[in-house]
Every structure is written in structure tokens, then in C-alpha cells.
Amino acid sequence: MILNMLVAGFGGQGVLFMGKVAAKTAMLEERFVSWLPSYGPEMRGGTANCAVCIDDKEISCPLITRPETLVVLNTPSFERFTDAVKPGGRVFVDSSLVDKKTDRTDIDAFYIPSTGLAEENGLKGLGNIVMLGQVLRQTAFTGLETLVQSMKECVPASKAFLQEANERALRLGFSYCAVQA
């Protein structure tokens, strides 16, 4: 599978949006894709996650129980999902928000201070996009320009003014050199 990614965090962190931007690249590249959110009664503030599968063949099951790629943007998600990552897989941790490290040695762990990076660069609230840039760097599930294009298509016209900042956040995350644990 080209991408088998679970993104988890709090509602309002852009978890679902981040997954959607990744999913949309598959549309541009005419690949098969599914995007499956988990949802609770709370629209904001609760836990949220979404599963994105991209493949060259039909996606049999959109549900991800053993992610190859895990992105965690808060501590509860780190605790809940890190053990589920497939051996040989990878976890991306927003180290600005999660003060923990995994003991697992059979997966790659990337600790990216994405929220902090975004804030330092005047991109407050775009930590999710910074993280997506880094995911791209490490997984190469698509091309950078495809991802930029996908983001353009995911941002509604009413928020088009965010486009420039979004793109900057993506490139920032992409060029960030993580210290691999």
C-alpha cells in the first residue's frame, strides 16, 4: 500500500483536514483512496482520528487497525495507538504537545515539534500542515507539488487567503530535518 495512515489528536487540531489533504493527492494521481473519520457527539475538543488508505488497487477495507504510518498530535492518541503500529512502520509525534517517547525499536519514531515550528514561523494553528510536510518527506507517498495542489483544492474559497500560509507550513515541515530517535 502506498499510504496507510492513521492521524489522531484532538478535534479542532485539523486532524480530519490533514487526512483529507493527503487523501486528495490520490485523486490527482488517479489512485484508489479512502478516508474514514472516527466521530463522537462532540464536534470540537474531543478526540478525533481519521484513517487514510492510498493504493494502486482497490481499497478492500477502509478501516485501519494496524497503521503503517501513525501521526499523533496529543498524548492520549500517543498512548492509545503507538502499540498498534505495524512492525517496520513509523510514528510521527508532535513533540511540542506530547512529552513521551516510544520504547519500541521495531518502528521508526519521528519527534517533530510541529506546533512550535508553526508558531515560531508565524503559522499559528498550522502545526498539522507542518506535520504533513514531514510525513511526505519520510514516506514520499506523493510529490510535494501534488500535495500543494491537493491542499489548494481542499481549502474552501472562503479561506483562500490561508493558501499562502498553508503552503509555507507544508514546505517548512517538508524541509525540517528530524532527529530520529
Binding site: K20, A23, K24, A26, M27, E30, F32, V33, S34, W35, L36, P37, Y39, P41, I59, S60, C61, P62, L63, T65, R66
Partner: protein, 353 residues
């Protein structure tokens, strides 16, 4: 058919209905189908259609009854507890020989239940969608694209046989995004000479009714309707299979569960167990003979549902004792994982060996 869109199941089905010339939607909000209503509320006013939020599910289904009797391609959507309220109207619609589309994005029950995906309304949809001798066409999509295709088919088939149709989906399909495309052109509904359009003082009044106080007359009308049901059973069954050609173990599942079972089949095969999947696409009419035929070639059947075991009744009826049928289900809004289903399949194989 070329343009692809990344859409949520609920939105895709709403768009499909609009493209299928449906211009009358009557609903009442309930999780997890609210996107359908929201999409309709946004789109309908722009295309000269009607989106009306009723005071209850009961009122909404009766508005559908009215709109359908006036000849419109009309629909409503809800989720399990709301469908219970609609069953009164569904019975009247079926008894009045009216076509209409009812969407059920199922959630966990009974009672208020939960809001996570479920398949525990199978009995309701296929056995008792309302009181009386009546059936609904029941379509069970298992992808966002099928949400689109089956909405269109449900309208067309319902009108062909003059009976209501239900799209039985679940919260997982409703919330999920997948690429979809829409047919370039969908045929306009055929004329409906029975519709209540006003006599123009040129013809005798059309009457749409479900009351027949003379038993022999009511029996005759019900029998005639069942003759149509027989035609539906002959002509409208839909099913699909996956890796069934050389399978020794057959999983039977529908809707979102069938997607998970596909992955389970793959896992089981990696473990050396030849598994395959039989997926009913129409739940009524049920692919009874097709399932019986496939059952001849396997040694064990496993029915998997997000319920305590409802469709398994139809599997057992179809197989009629020729092959052992076991059941695995999760309920209450729990979605089973491919791994736990694969384990059930391999356990069957182990039991046999």
C-alpha cells in the same frame, strides 16, 4: 462518467439523488445522517427543488407520501430510531403502491442506542418495514460509489414496480470519503398517469388509497402486489463476490462489514486458508438461489454482521441445511476488525481439520 470527486458517502448519495432528478426531500435531523439533509438544504433551493425540514420523522415520511402521490421523485433520510417512526408511513406508501426512497444510515440500537455504525435494522428493513403484508426494495451499498449507483437504481426500480425502496447504509459508509463519479445522463422518470395532478375535468379522479374494507378485495390487491414482488425477486437481485472461485470457506456479509471481510479474507489467505466473500447487494430481494449455488462449493459458511445475527437467518434459509453456517457479530456500534474476523475464519478451518 469520467470526472471523479472525493466525497463523503452521505453527500455522494444526496448528490446522486439530485442527479437522478429528485427534487423533493423531506427530512428531520438525526446523527449520523445529517450530512444528507445539510447537503440537500444547500443544493435544493439553487435548482428549484424542495428541501423541507419536517416537525418529525412521522411528518417527513408523510410529506414523501404526498409528494410521491403527486408524481414526484421524492425521498427522505434518517437513522435507526427515526426509521422506526417512519415505518407507519412506509407501510402506507407500500400499500398505496407509491415509489419513494428512504435512506437509513444505521446506528446502534435498540432504543436510542448509540451513534456509531451498526447493521441491526436488517430485520426491520427486510421483514417488517411497517405493518401488514408488504416489502421494500432494500439496497445495501458497501462503497461510496455504490451509494451513488444504488440510489439511482433504487429510484428507477421503485418506480418500475411502484414500490418504496430503502438504501440501507451505516454510519461508516456515510462518513467515509472515497472517489466517486456520476453517470453523465440519468433518464427522466417515466410518466405517471396514476399521479394526483388534478383531473383538469378531463378524466375521472385518480384515487390513491390503502383502505379496502371488503376482505376479498383486500386479499386480491395484496395478492396482485405479491405477484409484482415475485417479478422483483426474479429480476432485481444483486450480489457480488470476492475470491470465491477456489474458496473452501465462504464469508457472507453486506455493507461496510463486507469491506472489512474482504481484508479478513486476504489475511486468512495469507495464513493458508482459502476464504472468499459472498456479498448480497440487495437484501430484499435476497440472493437466495445464488447463495445456495455458491454454498455447494464450500465446506463452511461464516456470516458476519454488525448485529447479534439478523441476516444469518436468510443465509440459513438459502443454504437450507446443506452447509454449516456460523455467525460472528459485533454490535452496539463496534466495528469488527479484519484481524478478529480472520481469526474466526481460521478457527472454522481448524475445527474442520
Amino acid at each position: 462518467m469520467s470526472q471523479k470527486y472525493l466525497m463523503k458517502g452521505n453527500e455522494a448519495l444526496a448528490e446522486a439523488a439530485i442527479r437522478a432528478h429528485c427534487r423533493h426531500f423531506f427530512g428531520y435531523p438525526i446523527t449520523p445522517q445529517t450530512e444528507v439533509a445539510a447537503y440537500m438544504a444547500k443544493r435544493m433551493p439553487k435548482i428549484g427543488g424542495t428541501y423541507l425540514q419536517a416537525e418529525s420523522e412521522v411528518a417527513a415520511i408523510n410529506m414523501v407520501l404526498g409528494a410521491a402521490s403527486a408524481g414526484a421523485r421524492a425521498m427522505t433520510s434518517s437513522s435507526s430510531p427515526g426509521i422506526s417512526l417512519k415505518t407507519e408511513g412506509i407501510s402506507y406508501i407500500a400499500a398505496s403502491d407509491l415509489p419513494a426512497l428512504i435512506i437509513n444510515v444505521m446506528r446502534g440500537g435498540p432504543g436510542l442506542g448509540g451513534i456509531q455504525p451498526s447493521q441491526s435494522d436488517y430485520w426491520q428493513a427486510t421483514r417488517a418495514p411497517g405493518h401488514g403484508d408488504a416489502q421494500l426494495l432494500v439496497y445495501a451499498p458497501s462503497s461510496v460509489q455504490e451509494m451513488v449507483d444504488l440510489v439511482i437504481r433504487a429510484f428507477e426500480t421503485g418506480e418500475k414496480y411502484r414500490c418504496p425502496a430503502m438504501l440501507l447504509a451505516d454510519g461508516m459508509l456515510g462518513q467515509m470519503m472515497e472517489p466517486v463519479s456520476f453517470p453523465d445522463e440519468i433518464a427522466l422518470p417515466a410518466s405517471k398517469p396514476w399521479a394526483l395532478t388534478g383531473t383538469g375535468e378531463k378524466r375521472r379522479p385518480n384515487i390513491i388509497n390503502s383502505l379496502y374494507l371488503t376482505p376479498s378485495q383486500l386479499e386480491e390487491i395484496v395478492r396482485k402486489r405479491f405477484e409484482r414482488y415475485e417479478l422483483i425477486k426474479q429480476n432485481e437481485v444483486l450480489w457480488d463476490s470476492y475470491r470465491l472461485e477456489d474458496a473452501e470457506y465462504m464469508v457472507v456479509a453486506y455493507g461496510a462489514t463486507a469491506r472489512i471481510c474482504k481484508a479478513a479474507v486476504e489475511i486468512a489467505r495469507e495464513m493458508g486458508v482459502k476464504a472468499g466473500l459472498f456479498r448480497p447487494v440487495t437484501l430484499w430481494p435476497y440472493p437466495t438461489s445464488q447463495l445456495a449455488e455458491c454454498a455447494k462449493k464450500v465446506s463452511r459458511i461464516l456470516c458476519v454482521e454488525m448485529s447479534m445475527g439478523q441476516m444469518v437467518d436468510d443465509v440459513r434459509l438459502a443454504v437450507n441445511g446443506t452447509c454449516p453456517v456460523s455467525f460472528y457479530g459485533r454490535t452496539g456500534g463496534i466495528v469488527p476488525t479484519p484481524e478478529e474476523i480472520a481469526q474466526q475464519i481460521t478457527a472454522l478451518a481448524a475445527a474442520k481439520a
